[in-house]
Subunit: 503 residues, 2 copies
Amino acid sequence: MVNEKEAAGGLEWRIKVADGSSKTLTPEAGVGSRVLQGLKGLIVGLVMKLWKFLKKSWDLGHKDPRKVIHCFKVGAALTVVSLFYYMKPLYDGVGGNAMWAVMTVVVVFENSVGSTLYKCLNRVFGTFLAGFLAIGVHWIAIQSGEKLGPFIVGFSVFVLASAATFSRFIPSIKARFDYGAMIFILTFSLVSVSGYRVDKLFDMAHQRLSTIIIGTCLCILVSMLIYPIWAGQELYTIITRNMDKLANSLDGCVAEYFNSSGGSTDSNKESNKDSLGYKCVLSSKASEESMANFARWEPAHGRFNFGHPWKQYLKIGASLRSCAYCIEALNGCINSENQAPEYLKKRISNISLKVGSNSSSVVKELANVVKTMKKSSNIDFLVGEMNSAVQEFRNHLKSLPTLFIPQSLHEADQNPENKNTEPTSTGVEAVPLMDIVPLVTLASLLTEIASRIEGVVDAVEELADLAKFKPMPDDKTEANQPTNKVVPDQHKEDETMKTLQRV
Amino acid sequence: MVNEKEAAGGLEWRIKVADGSSKTLTPEAGVGSRVLQGLKGLIVGLVMKLWKFLKKSWDLGHKDPRKVIHCFKVGAALTVVSLFYYMKPLYDGVGGNAMWAVMTVVVVFENSVGSTLYKCLNRVFGTFLAGFLAIGVHWIAIQSGEKLGPFIVGFSVFVLASAATFSRFIPSIKARFDYGAMIFILTFSLVSVSGYRVDKLFDMAHQRLSTIIIGTCLCILVSMLIYPIWAGQELYTIITRNMDKLANSLDGCVAEYFNSSGGSTDSNKESNKDSLGYKCVLSSKASEESMANFARWEPAHGRFNFGHPWKQYLKIGASLRSCAYCIEALNGCINSENQAPEYLKKRISNISLKVGSNSSSVVKELANVVKTMKKSSNIDFLVGEMNSAVQEFRNHLKSLPTLFIPQSLHEADQNPENKNTEPTSTGVEAVPLMDIVPLVTLASLLTEIASRIEGVVDAVEELADLAKFKPMPDDKTEANQPTNKVVPDQHKEDETMKTLQRV
């Protein structure tokens, strides 16, 4: 490891020089040695910076080796396409246009199969369409004579480039054909102003198109055959990971609130990390959307068919985010300075933990449904459990007012800060409303979270219908809920009725 | 307008054909007329679709005319660069490489000045660096002889392409040099495998670089001189707009809750639209980040210097979002089915509205600070007001427990749904805790929002320091708070003390 002190020393020396100060720490040293020392400091500083950068890069690659593999894939594809220059027959075949194959590989090769396919197809069709149109315009320009021709070409470039640029602003086109529109403009302007004769143009168009097709095929093959990264799989992983994180956060938040006084530091840290997992959910919208856009270009892979309802994952993501907003608010409210006294917290800790764990087990079950791609017959039971826990929490709160005795206005005015009222020995307690504010807020937000989780349930069930998930085998169902002997359908109806009665 | 019925009729007919059904609505019509009708329906359907698409595009352009202007700018830049092909001396000057100027314009011209500059500079420096390196490698390959040469070139392409691709994953490089890294790979592979002699390479490199510089200069000039769209200005607009929306949402949410029974439908709709403005704040992270990335490439423009602290706007954006999360939770909680009775709502409506309006006026004042780019001496006063309103709200809640009389457990069990308890004539009221749950939640969330608004205040004050905002002229301050005779600084100290005492 490089000595950090030395680097700091070098920096200090340079600052002194910049200040124009004549004092030095080592007056006996000559100018030469000082310059040498300064240079040394500078180099050491640079090496330090480089070292840090390399270390960060190494960590990045170590954390996600697929990124490193992707880099090697790009390198390999480029090296292969470069061979065109060295193999005489191939080079002659495409008439020196091999450059376009190299260029295609560089700009088209993306991280995921979906984005590579999106760019490849857009490039091929954009080039084809624009080339076709441009040859037409070129032919008209030539027929119109030498004077009018350039104006026709110029005008058509202006109009089509403007129109294609505008189309890139339209959301539905931007999502699918953004790159194609750019390639369209590029090819159209290149071909229409190239000034070649039409017969030579056909030759050129043929060569250009064939080199582009060679490049795209190579990209598609390499990205699909060597350690493929599927955008659909990525989206699926993000969603299931977010579900797990949300469930852990919910558990963690509630547990942290009620265990804040006890517990070792290590386990606290661990639970703190867990309970902040929802923050990932808050900020994953952009990546979810781009993955869903790319996923629809992908062929069947793994457990996903072509035409898998990827858009539904976005709905699930949105419903997860709406839960995460509430967890964020919950986290803020229960960490505020206004805390409920311990004895009151203890009184509702069991039921709060039950609501929290029931809610999170619904989310975990949903994550399981998506992970196994099998409909769960358990989910209605769990939703019912969650709703009954919420209802129980409410009933518990309803019984709390009996704890209050009227505080006279006089007393309240005189002791507004009298928060630490302890339970008296008479069994009747005076609890200021302020003390139960955090608990009531917790209850309210947990209720809201539970109702939003039902939104997630709906979204996942819609996905299960759209993607035709099969029901989970019965033996697993029974293993999960050994006491529940009701037939799933009847059970579902039963639970729905219960839920309806409760709401 | 095209007749919609006709289109539907055509569709119906086609469905019938697809079903293989022999029944028709018009049995007297022959096969020919049916085919004709079908074709008519098909065409009308297509025209309808096209019409809808065009109408949507027109609306898009009408809503943001700058997009249309951008399209014309791209068209104009491309037409100008195409002239190179028609002007003999210019064309000869760049030796047929004019293609690269066209290509540069197409791929480099972006919507905002910042993104255009980012791509231009990345393109120029990426090309320059890669060309330089590639010529070096090429020279070494030639020196190594015909057998070893291709291996050296292939190996260097593989290594450098892999390394450059990997660098695109490193966040700090991705934010600034993503495009440059791609251009580096492109140029390096094109030059190093091109198979030219080194002296010809220098010629080519010179031409390539000059055409690229011509293209980039044209892009920069057009994007900066004709109706420029500055990324910095956009970011600034997003942030101030989000502040206004957040303030309006806060006002709207609280007002809507307390006015839900009265008011005309029109004003309700209006306030509903206002109160949902915070949803924009929730989803603006991605656009804020990309704007901030581009803004740092921009020169001084309007009221912004080069090196304006754009990153601070991201911090303000993040703090606004953290408020928006709470408003989202608030919106969910107060719209839930569990509602407080009207007479209780009335009792806290004044103070809640006060907290809401005081909080929103802090946000509005902050928006004003950012809009006018002048420090406000009013802000500390407003924050003080907000905190005192929050404290008043708490005191108000503290006085509420005196409203309760103990409910016997028996009674509570028998009438769990007895929510509509009216105030009795004796002056002592029985209010179940469940009835005040929404009010307590409102109080809690408003308190949390107020404390998060202080985070926004900190972020804006940091911006004011970093960007060296000047203090607002005194006359304006006095006009805003005519009753406040305290000197701003003393006043500030005073408020800080008050705040400290309260917290």
